[in-house]
């Protein structure tokens, strides 16, 4: 593993950099961590502009309307997606008792994915956008992204089909299923092949907008948690049947929910009814997953005090509980009538993506990096600080956005004009800037820690998890 060995292998095989075992997994997770910093920084910048609108006057590239999509794409496709894919490239071979199908292909995927995202940042800040939420990347980046997802299918399914272990664990179900349905969702959402009229377009867009969460982040994140929780606690999964119930109902109930973003818009009422019903029915997969996780933890709750990855996963699951209880409730017509268009919804999106799947991604990084690199974490203290900064930042943001959302809703309900409510929630927006500062500070620690772990000198012997 030292430099000489590396040089020697490099001489022997020009593809050594690409073929090294676990290299793709490592690089995906390192990229994910760096995108976490970049993405949250853009988020902080947007939040600051929201609070101090004259921060940037001259540069259109740094204006709020362009920074916001950059933030979303960097955290969604960069941070969360790349970190979870990196973890999947470690977990799936483990579960199949085989090697990754093609380390070389996976490394190419890593390079392409990063290239698309870097190009995406340049496009979005320069105003080249499709103007659909979560699908802002222009068509000439949609196509490479779609090809990347195809490559991802090949890698995951190649690994699964080469497996030495006959039984498919539920994680494999989730991940392999996701590889197949997410490209379909992506294709519908980004629609590189045809345009739609205004209001029909919104239906297709929110189908995508909600399913990028339901059929990509959720299935990957929950799938990974299904692997990590029993693995770390060494408890058997509470119920395999329950996990299969959760898996099969998630595809059934998540898919039609998109229209609950359009409940007061002039779209067909039957479609709204389908969306509301399936949103409430989401409690079935959510509860089956959470009951399974929390019962798997039986007798091992004390481990969160010492085990950092486990702490991340369980925090994520508590946020998941919160997200998925408020979600169905705010998707019902009357609650939505009150809360739609307010900051509450923004806050909800942050619980789901930052609180739940962001924490899953961080936990996965903390669990997998020592295993794929064979090195201990550079500093456990930094990792701890990262956890607490991220957690307090997320909770603060949750408070700020929820309070702001309720204030807006109440004010609009009594007929206060939007202009006055903007001023009303300004202090909460200031609080959000503070929470953003905490989260970004956490990411700085993460990036430093992961870079020192992977590329730095061998860390001092400071065991990360002595338990597992």
């Amino acid at each position: 593993m030292d430099a000489q060995t590396n040089m020697a292998t490099a001489d022997a095989n020009p593809w050594a950099w690409f073929d090294k075992e676990h290299s793709a997994s490592t690089r995906f997770m390192v990229s994910g961590a760096i995108w976490a910093l970049v993405g949250t920084f853009f988020g902080l910048f947007a939040a600051t502009e929201y609070w101090a609108p004259d921060l940037v006057r001259i540069l259109p590239q740094l204006q709020f309307g362009r920074i916001r999509p950059t933030h979303i794409n960097a955290v969604a496709f960069g941070f969360i997606s790349m970190s979870t894919v990196g973890a999947i490239f470690y977990v799936i071979p483990e579960l199949c008792r085989t090697k990754l199908y093609s380390e070389r292909l996976a490394n190419f995927l890593m390079i392409a994915w990063n290239a698309v995202l870097i190009a995406g940042v340049f496009c979005l800040t320069n105003g080249i956008t499709e103007g659909r939420e979560y699908a802002e990347l222009p068509w000439f980046l949609d196509i490479p992204m779609f090809l990347a997802l195809m490559t991802y299918i090949v890698i995951v399914w190649g690994t699964v089909l080469n497996r030495q272990e006959k039984q498919l664990y539920v994680t494999t179900w989730y991940v392999a299923g996701t590889t197949l349905w997410f490209p379909v969702v992506y294709l519908i959402g980004n629609r590189v092949f045809f345009q739609m009229d205004g209001i029909a377009d919104s239906i297709a867009q929110w189908f995508y907008g909600h399913n990028i969460l339901g059929l990509w982040f959720t299935t990957n994140g929950i799938g990974l948690t299904y692997y990590f929780l029993p693995k770390i606690t060494k408890n058997p999964l509470y119920s395999h049947l329950l996990s299969i119930v959760g898996f099969s109902t998630i595809a059934m109930f998540y898919t039609p929910t998109g229209t609950h973003h359009l409940l007061q818009m002039p779209v067909p009422e039957w479609l709204k009814a389908v969306a509301v019903i399936s949103s409430v029915m989401l409690l079935v997969p959510v509860m089956s997953v959470l009951v399974n996780f929390f019962l798997t933890m039986k007798g091992k709750w004390g481990m969160i005090a010492s085990n950092l990855p486990l702490r991340f996963f369980l925090t994520a699951m508590w946020f998941y509980l919160l997200t998925c209880f408020t979600g169905p409730f705010q998707a019902t017509r009357w609650i939505n009538w009150y809360l739609h268009f307010t900051h509450w919804v923004v806050g909800h999106a942050h619980f789901a993506l930052l609180g739940t799947f962001g924490f899953v991604a961080w936990g996965a990084i903390y669990y997998c990096v020592p295993r794929v690199t064979g090195r201990q974490w550079y500093s456990r203290r930094l990792a701890n600080a990262h956890y607490w900064l991220s957690l307090s930042g997320t909770i603060l943001m949750m408070i700020a956005l929820t309070v702001a959302g309720l204030a807006q809703a109440a004010a609009w309900e009594e007929g206060t004009v939007v202009y006055r409510t903007v001023v009303m929630v300004a202090p909460m927006m200031g609080l959000r800037v503070l929470s953003g500062l905490m989260i970004v500070a956490g990411q700085v620690l993460l990036v430093y820690n992961i870079l020192m772990t992977v590329f730095g000198a061998e860390a001092p012997a400071e065991a990360m998890e002595s338990q597992d």
Partner: protein
């Protein structure tokens, strides 16, 4: 291995079928069955408006401005219907958050010049607004995006008369479209001998060639949507403002503080000839005389005859200085809606269903200091009047002493029905308290 795989095959196929069926139902079926027809009341975008749409999308306006007026929305105009989006051939701009007002019915609400100024520096017209400044847009792009916005809604340029399919506000585009010769719409009585009359709007108004500016834009516009304004004014008359009633208990209950607490901190304290030490004292005073005020009022009315004694002259001068101090603040923060003269005809007042107050109305001359102060501080519910105390400094809020200077100015213009003796003098920098040199004069 093969048998093992077959166990997974059928559930996998089943799930694939379920997923396909759901996609079929929620994506493809609406695509085939839900096709709003071509609306009779809306025309297609012009090339310029289409370009404006692109700018609107590119700059991410839609992240903060929704483009769908919902049934529960107040003061956003008519509810949006499916056919309103018929011409949006390049995708939707519905938006998902409302950090700024809804724009589905923005067309015809403001003059182009208003939009231009508002896009360049929103806080010059809407203090406390958090909209970014779009100073960097080129002149063409600014024109495009304004043309796009002016098209929206039943009062917009894209609205068609359902009866004959013609443009509803034809004269309006003549007035605003920069590619056409500029015209002014003026009352027939105001036509001067040299004016070239190019069209008749109705029996009262004609259009003449020329460059409209300032208030005239608003006047033109107001005339154009007379119908809507009449509704607004009926509404205005039907709901007279509730007379302001001060009760210390209510103030304490609602805001946790009271005038007296603020009064103790402020320089305008010097103007009060009698104050009460605390709420109790005020309460007892009110039991004897219900009209007892927290501050005994200082009149800002200019006397008919100047006082002859030095003390009286000094006091008069002090009142003018204090009032003029508020004038700078007023010009910066208030004039966009209330007008530079305080007659309620500021630019931004054009669109309001509850219009900005006209301080020349009689009722305002009887407003007490505390009424003014708390109106400014708390805003006026149901209108666009902001709560000035809430805005933090960087958003253009007013500190307590600034609000009191403003109060002095408002009392001055309402009691004198105009600028009075302040006319022709410089308004000082907003927010700067009077220098130490002029301060003793107030005492």
């Amino acid at each position: 291995m093969t048998t093992q795989r077959a166990n997974y095959l059928y559930p996998a196929i089943g799930m694939g079928l379920i997923l396909s069926a759901i996609i079929f139902v929620v994506v493809l079926v609406p695509r085939w069955t839900f096709k709003p027809g071509q609306p009779k009341d809306l025309r297609n975008y012009t090339a310029q408006e289409q370009r404006g749409r692109t700018v609107y999308r590119r700059e991410g306006c839609w992240y903060c401005h929704s483009m769908a007026s919902r049934p529960q929305d107040w003061d956003h105009g008519v509810r949006s219907k499916a056919s309103d989006y018929f011409w949006d051939k390049d995708g939707h701009l519905l938006g998902s958050e409302r950090s700024g007002p809804d724009l589905a019915n923005i067309g015809g609400k403001f003059p182009d010049e208003y939009h231009d100024q508002h896009h360049r520096q929103p806080r010059s017209l809407k203090p406390g607004s958090i909209m970014p400044s779009y100073d960097y847009l080129s002149k063409e792009e600014m024109g495009d995006v304004i043309a796009f916005l002016q098209g929206n809604g039943p009062n917009g340029t894209r609205a068609l008369d359902v009866a004959n399919g013609e443009m509803k506000w034809a004269f309006f585009t003549k007035t605003w479209n920069p590619t056409l010769p500029r015209v002014r719409t003026i009352p027939r009585a105001d036509v001067q001998p040299g004016d070239k009359v190019i069209g008749e709007v109705n029996q009262d108004y004609v259009t003449v060639e020329g460059q409209p500016n300032g208030w005239e834009w608003v006047a033109n516009w107001k005339h154009g949507v007379r119908e809507r304004e009449e509704i607004a004014s009926r509404n205005y008359d039907a709901h007279p403002e509730t007379p302001y009633k001060y009760t210390a208990e209510i103030e304490e209950f609602m805001y946790g503080t009271s005038h007296e607490a603020q009064n103790a901190k402020t320089p305008l304290n010097a103007l009060a000839t009698k104050t009460y030490a605390n709420e109790d004292e005020l309460h007892h005073a009110r039991e004897k005389d219900p009209n007892a005020a927290a501050w005994t009022e200082v009149s800002f009315k200019e006397p008919e005859v100047l006082p002859t004694d030095v003390v009286g002259l000094k006091a008069l001068e002090a009142r003018r200085v204090v009032a003029n101090q508020g004038r700078g603040i007023y010009n910066q923060k208030c004039s966009a809606c209330h007008g530079l003269d305080g007659n309620g005809k500021g630019w931004a007042s054009a669109s309001m269903t509850r219009r900005a107050a006209n301080f020349w109305e009689d009722k305002f001359k009887d407003y007490r200091t505390d009424t003014w102060y708390w109106r400014i501080s708390r805003g006026v519910p149901g209108t666009q009047m902001p709560r000035w105390e809430l805005m933090s400094g960087h958003l253009g809020g007013l500190h307590a002493d600034q609000r009191l200077y403003l109060t002095a100015y408002l009392k001055y213009i309402s009691q004198n029905k105009g600028l009075g003796k302040l006319q022709g003098t410089d308004a000082p920098n907003a927010g700067a308290p009077p220098s130490a040199a002029s301060q003793p004069a107030a005492k």
